[in-house]
Subunit: 408 residues, 2 copies
């Protein structure tokens, strides 16, 4: 018998366990609402495009090159230009297998052990762990209800400069920030680009959720603004359509894209899903996204009512301006990592703030609830169970039914 | 302006160029025959499965866990058991985004800089470069018309043992070897497993092409034989269906699979393609593969006739026992790397032997022609052009129309 344990590489993650099914009340992960998947239109798009172009599946990348399916790149380029202010055309859009692959490729091209990366103090946990796995150090940028605080960022960059440290990039989710749900106003965006240029630190903009903004005029993407030409921008179809598709995209200066492409040695992003999304969104993007946002907004209302009902004034809510999650801060005595563990034992899964923060102490009493997946009934039940566990473990909420405090 | 060149990680591959289209006569890459893609049946499978299960696309991995879509894992498990002798059931099949992802995950889990890996002296170029990129050293195992020479392998392992070197794994493509097209007889397979156990070196078996064996009883997979329980086995749907799908699988001991799964942090392998393949192959595997092999065999016959016509006795052919490529050895005076460059300038793309060998000198005068993609007319034209370039550059073939020598 070969002893594999003696052959393994060092520093591997812990082995995975057998899949035991999803938690009964599942408030984690960027899942979407199953009832809002446009099943019939996707089935038609699939049949139509496979009949029209299926023979090309015999070739890697359908013979259309490693940047991705041209029809999908044209759709993305059009959307980026009309909605986000980003020019450049389809020849500068790289389709990736989820925006996660975009993140991984940017890290592969830019990061080395010992490097420094700036991130919002509360941000996507997967982005934090990926940077750390590259051996780079993550430094948090303080945020408020409008995103990164530029006064504090200027201080941090100045202090770093005085120590001779230049971060490799500054990662931000400016439009529906994950997890706080904030949208950075245009004035701050200008200031961010100014600081980026002054300190020679590229901006890496993640717009995974931007399609799901509730209402009103959204600010342009950082990459779409004057002085934003050097921003690296990624986006996704996971939130606007479905995460099981694994499709995302990168829009970046060619000097970066040509490097990402050289490292993208996966044999190509799957083609059938690209064909389907190009066809479906080419016909139905506006209508689908409007319908999706209406549904998600209703679910957010149900969730907020349930949290106010169950947690009362104990819960401070950051009301999101779009998207699929709600960021909640509980009283000092609550440790949400312990709460998450106790709740999971009773079938309720939540993201504790520590997982979504550059400094795990900093969000000890915060948590993220994703509300797109559970049916309305489950949103209510899950929150009631979470409140019961929280009361049992930490003595809060004392009582519900008082209006919770809202911020943002 | 930020100077990105100062921010890049070290040792990156050269930046990619803009895609300029495929070569006119394209004999490279594991492409398939566009005329043999079952377009109508795939369109029906796509529409049917999306209608039946499309709502689950709202969840990462369709909520079915990170090992892959259960219906596809069941199909693979059944095929592995009935055709390759591999037991274990669907709970031990990991679906990957192409078998390339399987290769990458195995390398991530097992390799560290300074390690040694054994590979057939002529083998898949992508496997060589991936191991080298991990900082590991590739050592070639001599092959003949029946695959790895076990006498020589025993010597190499003995010599390594005497120096205290234990390779991390031994990579082999035993069934339709790439590029030679050989099939390892069962006696050699037994001897290979014996040597693996004696030296504590795991076997990593790549069966990408095994579905495309022309005829007769195939030997069982190494993983399906007595003593093969510790073999790491990967396979693919790229060759039996279409490479643009990006679907493959791993069957391995759980102590390895649990590690691969922990490193598979891609958000899941795309689900729609898994649903389509599970449905289509669940209904049509035998019929489709039979039809595909008939078509490929006809193309091989056309290619062989063209090579014999144009190269005469100058070309020694390794007639493959299945698959999509022909391995050719030319006279001493030919350097196929130079030939490939000169031919590409005239629109004919080939794989020079040096790219497909652990020691680039070792196959200086060999080349690989993939014959699935070009129509028959292009097979003939491309070979005629290749012969003309070869004559111009190296003085051979002197004349065609003599029967080429065949081996294997």
């Amino acid at each position: 018998m070969i002893d594999f344990t003696r052959l393994l590489a060092r520093d591997l993650p812990q082995p995975a366990g057998r899949f035991g099914g999803l938690p009964r009340w599942n408030f984690v992960g960027g899942n979407n609402d199953p009832a809002l998947v446009p099943v019939e239109a996707l089935a038609e798009a699939a049949a139509r495009t496979i009949r029209a172009e299926g023979r090309k599946l015999a070739l890697y990348n359908m013979g259309e090159g490693p940047m991705g399916h041209p029809a999908l790149r044209e759709f993305v380029a059009g959307k980026l230009e009309s909605q986000r202010g980003i020019a450049g055309g389809p020849e500068n859009v790289l389709i990736t297998s989820g925006s996660l692959q975009g993140l991984d490729l940017v890290n592969e091209v830019l990061l080395e052990p010992g490097d420094t990366v700036l991130m919002e103090e509360h941000t996507y946990g997967g982005a934090i762990t990926r940077v750390q796995r590259c051996g780079a150090r993550v430094v948090g940028m303080p945020v408020d209800a409008d995103g990164i605080r530029m006064d504090r960022l200027a201080e941090i960059l100045g202090e770093m400069r005085s120590r001779g440290v230049r971060p490799k990039y500054l990662y931000t989710i400016p439009t529906i920030q994950n997890p706080t749900g904030s949208v950075m106003p245009v004035e701050r965006r200008r200031e961010l680009l100014r600081l980026s240029a002054e300190h020679g630190v590229p901006v890496f903009e993640d717009e995974c959720y931007a399609d799901l903004l509730w209402e009103g005029e959204w600010p342009p993407a950082l990459r779409g603004m004057e002085g934003g030409e050097q921003v690296i921008h990624i986006g996704s179809f996971s939130k606007s359509l479905a995460p099981a598709l694994r499709l995302g995209y990168v829009s970046a200066p060619w000097e970066i894209t040509s490097r990402l492409l050289a490292c993208k040695d996966d044999g190509g992003t799957p083609s059938i899903e690209q064909m389907i999304v190009a066809d479906f969104f080419g016909r139905h993007f506006d209508g689908h996204v409007r319908h999706l946002k209406e549904g998600l907004r209703r679910k957010l209302d149900v969730l907020v009512a349930a949290v106010e009902e169950e947690f009362g004034t104990s819960a401070e809510l950051s009301l999101p301006k779009g998207g699929i999650f709600l960021w909640i801060t509980l009283p000092e005595e609550v440790d949400t990592s312990r709460l998450a563990e106790a709740a999971l034992a009773e079938g309720v899964a939540i993201n504790p703030g520590a997982q979504w923060s550059t400094d795990s102490d900093n969000a000890r009493r915060s948590l993220r609830l994703c509300f797109a997946l559970p049916p309305e009934e489950d949103l209510r039940e899950g929150v009631a169970r979470l409140a019961a566990v929280c009361h049992r473990e930490f003595g809060v909420p004392l009582h519900g039914a008082n209006k919770a405090r809202r911020s943002a």
